[in-house]
Symmetry: C2
Subunit: 259 residues, 2 copies
């Protein structure tokens, strides 16, 4: 019996039996020199559309690696339709947000500039690289889409009417998060987590007036913005998302090799 | 009117009006040279027993600072009785666990060595320093107690019968976390999060046989251990802990200055 496949890679190419997939320099190097894989070894690949496939390494060249797709391992599933809007944070913390939000199953990561947002630009490539790495490791079959970093009011101006926006960066008058999410109607949703300094009061007043916004309270302690992201996503997934179904038998403990 | 107090410090000393409190070199330096505070300026102090007090800076010396306690700002509250047992992780990740678990309101942080735990020692002083810093910033009135790092089976051997232990590092057969916690009986609780590599199967079998252990499922994706910590704590706090009450008006947005 073959060894279990330990490596999952997100690729852009279409995936179907017999299809060839080329990997760039960085990944070729990683497979060959870090993981010490060789011709004939298997990896798992996914592209967010065609499920997960086994692929065998055909060979390495100078700065490339080519794979041939073999059989399908998992069919494409549908991830919950959950966006995360968040004010950009400094480097370590924003990397963390991309990693955690991906593991927690968001479908779209959307950095938005609030009035008190500290960093005034976002490295979307870096955000995406963190999300890809997290998706590969957490067994997702997709990578969250990246929203273009825009001022919050612009993001809210074109808001789709059927998508509820749960506002987390909130003073204590909000209803407790579980009380709200327990009765959440099904359908598309989004979470908004404010900057470390909190929203500007007039900004907060404007947001809470919007018909699709529902404030949720995250308890009596002051959470850092990155903590609030994971905490709010956990509440949503456990009460309204894909943690509500019984576990599948496929799921191994944390980060174990893929069987 | 005085400026709002921006600085909260955890101290060991008893706190009462007129009491003197001495600060060590590091904190004296921090107040004087980083925050540029001066004689007569106010800070907030708490010790986990006497609530929070305003204290005024009496003066700085070479390597020390002395404060005089003025009036009480908040009475001591009771934090939820929730322990977190976790397998030690490498440096950045374990710092993160200490910070996040403190913000999320755990009463005891307890590193336990599982069969597959990678680091075989824990720097408890570092863990505690991270917890103290997080407690100061998140408005807690206490710092989590640190459990002595021991092998997991030793921790479980002397387990108090009335404390439920929710096991998070779990294969997919566990019931969804919200389903379990929604009906959780009140009383002392603990969460156990396994190591990155997952529990050893025989270890897992032994743990799940224990009468006080209840496995909970954290959804279909593989979470990193540090993600699982925040996610599980959020589920517990929102469904069984102190996030269930309505917000108090005292609570400002994230990390805003204390009024």
């Amino acid at each position: 019996m073959a060894d279990p496949i330990k490596t999952r890679l997100y690729v852009d190419s279409p995936l179907a039996e017999g299809q060839s997939v080329g990997l760039d320099h960085e990944r070729a190097h990683f497979l060959r020199h870090v993981l010490r894989l060789d011709r004939g070894d298997s990896v798992a690949v996914f592209n967010g559309r065609d499920g997960e496939w086994r692929a065998a390494i055909d060979g390495f060249g100078k700065g490339w690696c080519s794979l041939t797709v073999a059989e399908q391992r998992r069919e494409q599933d549908t991830a919950p339709d959950l966006w995360l809007l968040f004010a950009p944070l400094k480097k370590g913390r924003i990397d963390f947000v991309a990693e955690k939000a991906t593991e927690m199953g968001v479908s779209r990561l959307w950095p938005v500039f609030t009035r008190r947002t500290d960093p005034n630009r976002v490295n979307i490539d870096r955000l995406r690289a963190n999300a890809v790495e997290a998706a590969e490791q957490c067994e997702r079959l997709s990578v969250p889409e990246m929203g273009e970093a825009v001022p919050l009011d612009r993001a809210l101006a074109g808001w789709p009417a059927d998508r509820r926006l749960y506002l987390c960066a909130e003073a204590g008058s909000a209803r407790p998060v579980a009380e709200v999410l327990r009765d959440a109607p099904p359908g598309p949703a989004a979470l908004l987590v404010g900057p470390e300094g909190g929203f500007d009061q007039s900004e907060l007043d404007e947001i809470t007036k919007l018909p699709f916004v529902v404030p949720v309270g995250l308890g009596p302690r002051i959470l850092r913005a990155d903590t609030a992201v994971v905490a709010a996503l956990a509440c949503w997934q456990s009460l309204a998302g894909d943690w509500t179904a019984g576990g599948s038998d496929r799921r191994p403990p944390f980060r174990a090799p893929i069987p």
